[in-house]
Amino acid sequence: MAETPEHSVLACIDGSIYAQSVADHAAWAAGRLSAGVRLLQVLGRRESSSSDRSGRIVAGARRQLLEQLSELDHARAKLLQSQARLDLSDAEVRLRDAGVERVDKLLRQGDLLETLQALEDETSLIVIGKRGAAADFATGHLGSNLERILRAMHRPVLIAARGYGAPSRVVIAFDGRASAINAVDEVARSALFQGLAITLVQCGTPDQASATRLAAAAEQLAGGGLKTEQRIESGPPETTLPAIVEETGTDLVVMGAYGHSRLRTLMIGSTTTQVIRDCKVPILVYR
């Protein structure tokens, strides 16, 4: 897909502590891709409601209620807006300090996913924090928006960890599915990974077919000029990958996005979600 030269990296921030690290990750990606960064903050839907349960309607009730709700919304929106502008400026300063030249800021009203979909065409990479402002302390869970974005968007998504360090050791989680093969293909061609140490990891019982696929993937990466190791592990990916990451000092994980059985993942959760949750490093997810 053709990349638009401007605003290639879309960095989604909000009031959470991830805002700084999102900016740092975006700066790293933009530097490597020689792209600009667009900082995006989306103010959520209106949620003001009165606490009147009296069930009465007085004369002119509709007008009164409208005025009351507008008043609440207005106050809340004003506050959110000024905070958001501050957050955006902070992030912009951080990006400029990191040497990104083209930065622009976008403050929108509405739903994050819908906004991202509208911007998808002008974007080649999305950077977002692992959790939003609303989910800060429930560290066991991902942000509610993150999973929606991973499922609905077609662009690679870089999920920022809480802290940032320039990635040098990369693990590619390889399961032989189409999205993983596509991920390897993208990695081989992308400027993001030049000069980084790459380990291809396959989890699950080894057999001939998967070994062949793994070798083909390694070859493809080598063809892209990337130094690559291979590893085959027998455990399930959702526990094995985080362990390897910890053990080898990996600082970036690359993986393919969700499998297609949505109803099943709705019931029992998915591998992708668990890996994202349990790896304490940034993760780049390809469709």
Partner: protein, 504 residues
């Protein structure tokens, strides 16, 4: 290039559905309960208006609320048995009985589904604000009038109880807003009546209450053309009024919550709700302005609030049926007076003086017609007709003909500006002086718009008359001026379209 594969689109739809249902669970549950408590007295009162047992309205309210939650296009809007549809069916029940009402309800549902599929929701834009205000005011007056029989020739103790009920409804919320005032009103008045053993008319006197969950049954009517002839006029009225009130309520909820609704889906949803309701022995209904406001006021936003309102209502009446039958009518009358006062647009009375006369005439005409005929559809029809006429009369004023005579006196050039259509066609013809002796007449239409066949005929007349007087007639700019005759201008999507309407 925005392309979405099936997987992403399915996920997106599922996600959207989840937020519509479970985006606001706690508030939706509370609001659902508040609304259910407020719905019970209304459903009983509207059954009494229509002349059927209270259970007909209660079953209807349950089923319509639940089905609209599932199928409607406006999350958070409350639909149930309503006064607007009840008043339409009074004659049908009196002359033919309950079974015909059920059949008419099913038929109305079919018509509403058709309206939704044909995307008639768009037609609402011809209903002006004045007509809507008239509709709402007429509805309030009808609800109030329906209470009058309960206030005439009844035991004397009724009057102080109604007064007490109103006092509770309006004053109790100053004490606390955490408890629904209608509930307090019912409990207090029922308590007083029982304690003093007052001889009062009660809900139990008005007919059967639900004693079981509703069951599926076919209306007991002959399936003949004659039956259709009987029910169709009522079904059409109910379908039209139901959609009008529903779409109007939807736009009120849109405004209050600052979110959008899907009007055509709402039409289909109302239709499905009425269709199914007829089969479980419920009367036709639609969205309710007052209840929807109460729902939003109580924090209800999602489909869950509407769904819960219906389910709570059914649970309450089925299990508390014997207690519900003890409620004195005085308590219901007080609640319905509050509803009618709250529904009436008092600001519209003040605005009568400020707004243009035509707006006031439309509003008052709508109200008077409805109150006289007890049919909201007729009132709205008249209101729409009047506002159309007034609008045409106003636009017809944007029209002017000027002329200049050439130096030799043989040629006159008429310059027509503005809108030429049926309402201004006579003025158009009258603007020309046919008695003047001329060799040549030039009619410059560059600044005019010819809108319809009436104006084309008028132009023909003018040309012919001048020819008869011996003049040569030249039309200038006719092509551009007559581009407006075609029915579909598609103005909005053509570049430079606004030029078409200003000058050529």
């Amino acid at each position: 290039m925005a392309h979405y594969d099936m997987a992403a689109r399915d996920w997106f739809a599922l996600d959207h559905l989840r937020s519509e249902w479970f985006g606001n669970v706690r508030n939706d549950l509370i609001a659902g309960l508040v609304v259910a408590l407020a719905l019970i007295p209304e459903a009983i009162a509207f059954s009494i208006i229509a002349g059927v047992d209270p259970k007909v309205g209660l079953y209807a309210s349950f089923s319509i609320a639940v089905l609209c939650a599932l199928t409607g296009g406006r999350p958070g809007m409350i639909s149930a048995a309503t006064a607007a549809t009840a008043v339409l069916m009074v004659d049908l029940v009196r002359d033919h009985g309950l079974q015909y009402l059920l059949a008419a309800t099913i038929m109305a549902g079919v018509l509403q589904i058709a309206a939704g599929i044909l995307r008639l929701g768009r037609a609402m834009r011809f209903v002006s604000r004045s007509v809507m205000t008239g509709f709402v005011n007429a509805l309030a007056i009808l609800i109030f009038m329906a209470q009058v029989p309960e206030m005439i020739g009844v035991p004397l103790a009724t009057y102080p109880l109604i007064a007490l009920g109103l006092a509770i409804l309006y004053l109790f919320p100053y004490l606390t807003k955490a408890v629904p005032a209608p509930l307090v009103c019912i409990l207090v008045i029922t308590g007083i009546a029982l304690y003093y053993g007052l001889e009062l008319r009660t809900v139990g006197d008005m007919g059967d209450l639900p004693d079981a969950l509703p069951v599926f049954m076919l209306p007991d009517i002959p399936l003949t053309l004659e039956t259709l002839e009987i029910i169709l006029p009522y079904s059409v009225g109910v379908a039209v009024v139901g959609l009008l009130e529903s779409l109007m309520t939807a736009s009120i909820v849109d405004e209050l919550t600052d979110t959008a609704s899907d009007r055509n889906r709402e039409c289909v949803g109302q239709g499905v709700a009425n269709f199914c309701t007829g089969f479980i022995g419920g009367m036709a209904g639609c969205a309710m302005i007052g209840q929807s406001i109460i729902n939003v006021q109580s924090g209800g936003r999602g489909r869950l609030s509407t769904f819960c309102a219906g389910v709570f209502l059914l649970i309450l009446v089925v299990f508390l049926g014997e207690y519900v039958s003890l409620i004195p009518m005085a308590a219901l009358v007080a609640i319905m007076i509050m509803v009618s006062v709250g529904t009436f647009s008092w600001a519209s009375l003040r605005k009568l003086r400020e707004q243009p006369l035509s707006a006031g005439v439309v509003m008052v005409a709508t109200v008077v017609t409805v109150v006289a005929t007890h049919n909201l559809a007729i009132g709205v029809g008249l209101g729409v007709l009047l506002s159309g006429i007034f609008f045409a009369a106003k636009i017809a004023q944007i029209f002017r003909v000027t002329s200049t005579l050439s130096a030799d006196g043989a040629t006159r050039r008429y310059r027509v500006e503005g809108q030429v259509f049926f309402a201004s066609a006579d003025d158009f013809v009258a603007a020309f002086d046919f008695a003047e002796v001329l060799e040549r007449v030039e009619i410059d239409l560059t600044q005019a718009h010819i809108w319809d066949v009436s104006s084309v005929a008028a132009l023909d007349t003018v040309v012919l008359k001048f020819r008869r007087e011996g003049a040569e007639v030249v039309l200038i700019g006719l092509n551009a001026a007559s581009e407006t005759i075609v029915d579909k201008l598609a103005v909005h999507d053509k570049p430079g379209a606004s030029d078409l309407l200003s000058a050529h």
